[in-house]
């Protein structure tokens, strides 16, 4: 059967825009689901994706990817590769699956919204593929861990985590609801596909794929590499949307949407990827520090791309650069100390050689962060590991929902005050970890002010009994599921603080 070249029919078949006569434009594209920001509809019809694909090509490509991927999964499943993964890498993969897998399905809801409420037929066409992509990612990232449940039962958190009130998952849902579940199609194209996927998923997926291969986890490496090829395609919905907004004089709208989500994405990636790269990935397999990765892939490549569209770095840029030096070190301390509240076994990552690496990558780390590990290590060596476990909760930020670590920034010399920021609004007190988090909240207080953080729930009597065990049960964590030290305190017994550094 003769086939026309794609270029001869592609534009015709994907452009199904027309003027409505039986219904109004507002009825078809209600603002709540499809905020056009006042851009004329004909302008939206110029939407043109930089990467073209047809349905036949899509199916062919995806089938090929899955065939390769499931072959790897099948072979690895019969090997001892999983059993031989190092504890730190196991922690990284368990954290990843729980935080990401079901969120992919939720991203599918977002893509489906753009597939219906996107302002141009060409955009809706691309979003349809995006919806199929995200469904695939959800399926893959629940199926792969399911295959290994007999080796690590807590891999069921790939499916379970999103349905619990575990504190990190409250943070993830708060972010993703803002980014797509409760978002309109146009804002989503800027915030999900451009800001989050173009900017940040590269960090998690490309970085972790490379690390996975070095570690020998070819199953996980192949999985997230395959996912990233989809992300790279459907993330391109952001660029044409951004161009249309800017061309229509809505640069301020685009900048605001970007600034709000870039900061939010940063906080969650510092928590997830920051720990994986700088503490969980075995030392011999690390190529970049988290900070170096951020500088290369986000601060240089991505922001350069952003400036090409006539936009500027966010107003909080200096604060972002500042936090890159310290915030994920504090988050790691917090996750380790409050390890019963997570579903993986955090490793300390503070063996002497690991501390030397941290000191090299983050000059001053031993003085600013090593001192906490020194005290905890002394307690372990003195036979009191219980002193490295929590008896209360950290207060969390009412924007990012992550524990308030401002004192760490102050103690390390990066902030002028250890105090969090407070806001009293409509008879309720809100606490924030940083100016940008408070600013994000204040951009849409009606959207955020009703949300209860894990601490608000604790104080409000939602969590019963109001104790550590009560809170763990509320988070869906049975004693068998609660995180424990990933190396049975090997770090503490291997390192003894000495003047000017750490020795054995």
């Amino acid at each position: 059967m003769p086939r026309l070249p794609r270029a001869d029919w592609y534009d015709l078949t994907r452009d199904m825009n027309w003027d409505f006569s039986y219904v109004t434009e507002e009825d078809v594209f209600p603002e709540l689901l499809s905020n056009g920001f006042g851009v004329p509809k004909q302008d939206w019809w110029t939407w043109d994706e930089p990467y073209k694909i047809t349905y036949a090509e899509y199916v062919h490509n995806q089938a090929g990817k899955d065939a390769g991927l499931f072959t790897v999964n099948n072979v690895v499943g019969r090997s001892k590769i999983f059993e031989n993964l190092e504890p730190g890498w196991m922690a990284a993969t368990l954290a990843h699956y729980g935080a990401i897998a079901v969120g992919e399905y939720q991203a599918g809801i977002g893509e489906a919204r753009m597939a219906r409420f996107g302002r141009a037929a060409s955009w809706r066409n691309m979003a349809t593929y995006g919806c199929l992509d995200e469904t695939r990612h959800g399926q893959l990232q629940t199926y792969f861990p399911y295959q290994a449940l007999n080796k690590e039962p807590r891999l069921d958190w790939a499916h379970k985590a999103y349905h619990t009130n575990e504190w990190g998952m409250i943070a993830a849902r708060h972010l993703f609801d803002d980014m797509f579940t409760a978002n309109d199609a146009v804002s989503m194209a800027i915030q999900l596909t451009f800001t989050f996927e173009t900017g940040f998923t590269n960090l998690q997926f490309l970085g972790m794929a490379a690390d996975a291969m070095k570690v020998g986890d070819i199953d996980f490496g192949a999985l997230i590499s395959s996912i990233q090829t989809d992300e790279a395609r459907h993330a391109q919905q952001g660029e044409p949307t951004l161009k249309i907004l800017v061309a229509a004089g809505k640069k301020d709208v685009a900048q605001n949407l970007f600034d709000r989500m870039f900061w939010r994405a940063w906080k969650v990636f510092a928590l997830l990827t920051g720990l994986s790269m700088d503490y969980y990935t075995p030392l011999e397999h690390r190529t970049h520090s988290f900070k170096e990765f951020m500088e290369e892939f986000i601060n240089t490549q991505f922001i350069d791309q952003f400036r090409d569209f006539g936009l500027e770095a966010p107003w909080y840029w200096d604060q972002l650069l500042n936090e890159m030096n310290w915030v994920h070190h504090a988050y790691h301390l917090g996750v380790y100390y409050w390890r019963p509240t997570v579903w993986w076994n955090p490793v300390a990552g503070t063996l002497p050689e690991e501390r030397a690496w941290l000191e090299e990558k983050y000059p001053g780390w031993n003085d600013s962060f090593g001192k906490y590990w020194d005290v905890m290590g002394e307690n372990v060596r003195a036979g009191h590991p219980e002193l490295t476990l929590p008896e209360t909760f950290p207060v969390v930020c009412n924007s990012c929902q992550i524990p308030l670590c401002t004192p760490a920034g102050y103690a390390a010399g990066y902030l002028s005050s250890p105090l969090p920021l407070l806001l009293d609004l409509d008879g309720r007190r809100y606490t924030f970890c940083s100016e940008p988090c408070k600013w994000v909240f204040e951009q849409a207080p009606g959207q955020f002010k009703g949300h209860l953080s894990i601490i608000d729930r604790f104080l409000g009597g939602v969590i019963q009994p109001p104790t550590i065990p009560g809170a763990l049960a509320y988070m869906g964590l049975s004693p068998e599921e609660c995180g424990q030290d990933g190396t049975n305190y090997a770090w503490a017994h291997a390192s003894v603080p000495v003047a000017g550094g750490v020795g054995r």
Binding site: G334, Y372, D374, M376, T392, P394, P407
Partner: protein
Amino acid sequence: MALFPVQGIVEGDFVVVLVPVDDTDPMTVVAEKIAYHGIGKRVAPQDRPLKVRWNGTVLADDSTIAGLGCAPMDVLEVLYA
């Protein structure tokens, strides 16, 4: 007497912690209750008395939450004198 939640920061620590105190506790007791969650656990202890700072002011040892008019979830810093 009433339980009163505050946000506690131990000087030198890395995190803000939730601490229930009693609104009639003198600041010496408030300091101990907050310090319990940081000193000797992540922050090395020192042989000096503890003080409480609120809104930039170091409080008298015998002052109380109720007497000062603190609001729930105010931030109290514990530091060595």
